[in-house]
């Protein structure tokens, strides 16, 4: 009698374990697919801060960024890119690409205090990034051109807030006279 109960318990236990491990495997596979998509195809992120006003809000906008263009070298001036900060390796920032290697970039050095402009030729293997809000943005004007390998993605679509949903135009400069 005891042996029978023992055998029944074994059977139940085994089937529970089997079902649990099956479900865990399915969840693990799902997370793997999510991770691969995130790392190699397309990811979404939240950007906050004043440096990309008016393109992105101060309090935070969600957008989609794709990773294939960077790997194939299909980014150009005017694109909004995700890049790892050269000053804080754990931070990822969103800026607009203004110049590729060997491009000549003219920038306003300190727009809050003066109108002085400077021109620089972007060295080989580097890119020049600037925030759309040059009055309050820490970008290549402060830390210099950034190695191309620090680019992580190209932003192509804003998804939150809903009334600003849509693809981001190549030229972010909104002319108020239009």
């Amino acid at each position: 009698m005891v042996g029978l109960i023992g055998r029944l318990w074994n059977l139940q236990y085994k089937s529970i374990v089997k079902e649990a491990s099956g479900k865990t495997l399915a969840v693990a596979k799902f997370f793997c697919v999510l991770h691969v998509t995130n790392t190699y195809l397309c990811t979404f992120a939240l950007a906050y801060g004043p440096s990309m006003i008016p393109t992105f809000n101060l309090t935070g906008d969600m957008f989609l960024a794709e990773r294939l263009s960077i790997k194939f070298g299909k980014v150009g001036p005017g694109d909004i890119v995700l890049l790892r900060s050269p000053e804080s390796p754990r931070k990822v920032m969103v800026k607009r690409l203004l110049g590729l290697e060997s491009h000549s970039v003219t920038y306003v050095v300190d727009p809050m205090n003066s109108d002085r402009c400077d021109t620089i030729v972007v060295p080989k293997g580097h890119v020049w990034v600037e925030g759309d809000n040059i009055y309050n943005s820490r970008d290549s004007r402060q830390f210099g051109p950034v190695p191309y390998s620090l680019l992580e993605g190209k932003v192509f679509c804003k998804i939150w807030p809903p009334k600003e949903f849509g693809s981001l135009m190549k030229s972010g400069m909104k002319d108020p006279d239009l």
Binding site: P86, P89, P147, Y148, S149
Partner: protein, 164 residues
């Protein structure tokens, strides 16, 4: 009638091919994940790390965990993506972390000293006479470090950890 039996055979053959392909794909995925996030063997060659690494090529093991948790420090041999050519990966030694003062000689007669800026590292090849490194292209952002070399696998008489 024969057509039906052929279709049946084809279906089972296709199923077997798909199963085998799935196993191979899973193995490649596992290999890829291990290579990128754990440990990977790499062939390194060139004169810039003599005498630590040979000219004609060594196979070394590099681990990809330390640089993600900030455990890369002075004296480590690291794999770094070149700031000059994004497709190349260099093998150099970290000589200074952010905030360190580094003295170096580009020209044997003329020495310079710099402070490594925040978020950057100073890398130099052990063979300073034949190495293109931070003395030429400046300090490199920490985010470009891909891995830390800790072990040599080939050639067999160099098998073991790298000497400092």
């Amino acid at each position: 009638m024969r057509l039906l039996s052929y279709m049946g055979q084809w279906k089972s053959a296709a199923k077997e091919v798909l199963d085998r392909t799935a196993i191979v794909a899973k193995f490649l995925c596992l290999l890829h994940v291990t290579n990128n996030y754990l440990c990977s063997p790499t062939l390194v060659y060139g004169p810039s790390m003599l005498p630590t690494l040979n000219l004609t090529g060594d196979v070394v093991l590099a681990e990809h965990v330390s640089h993600r948790i900030g455990k890369v420090g002075t004296g480590d041999v690291v794999l770094v993506r070149s700031p000059v050519d994004p497709r190349r990966i260099l093998t150099k030694r970290v000589v200074g972390m952010e905030g360190d003062t580094v003295s170096f000689y580009v020209d044997p007669m003329y020495g310079q000293t710099t402070v490594v800026p925040k978020g950057h590292v100073w890398i130099q090849g052990d063979n300073t006479y034949a190495s293109s490194d931070s003395r030429h292209f400046g300090p490199v952002p920490y985010g470009l470090i891909q891995g830390k070399v800790f072990f040599r696998v080939w050639p067999p008489d160099g098998f073991g950890t790298l000497e400092q």
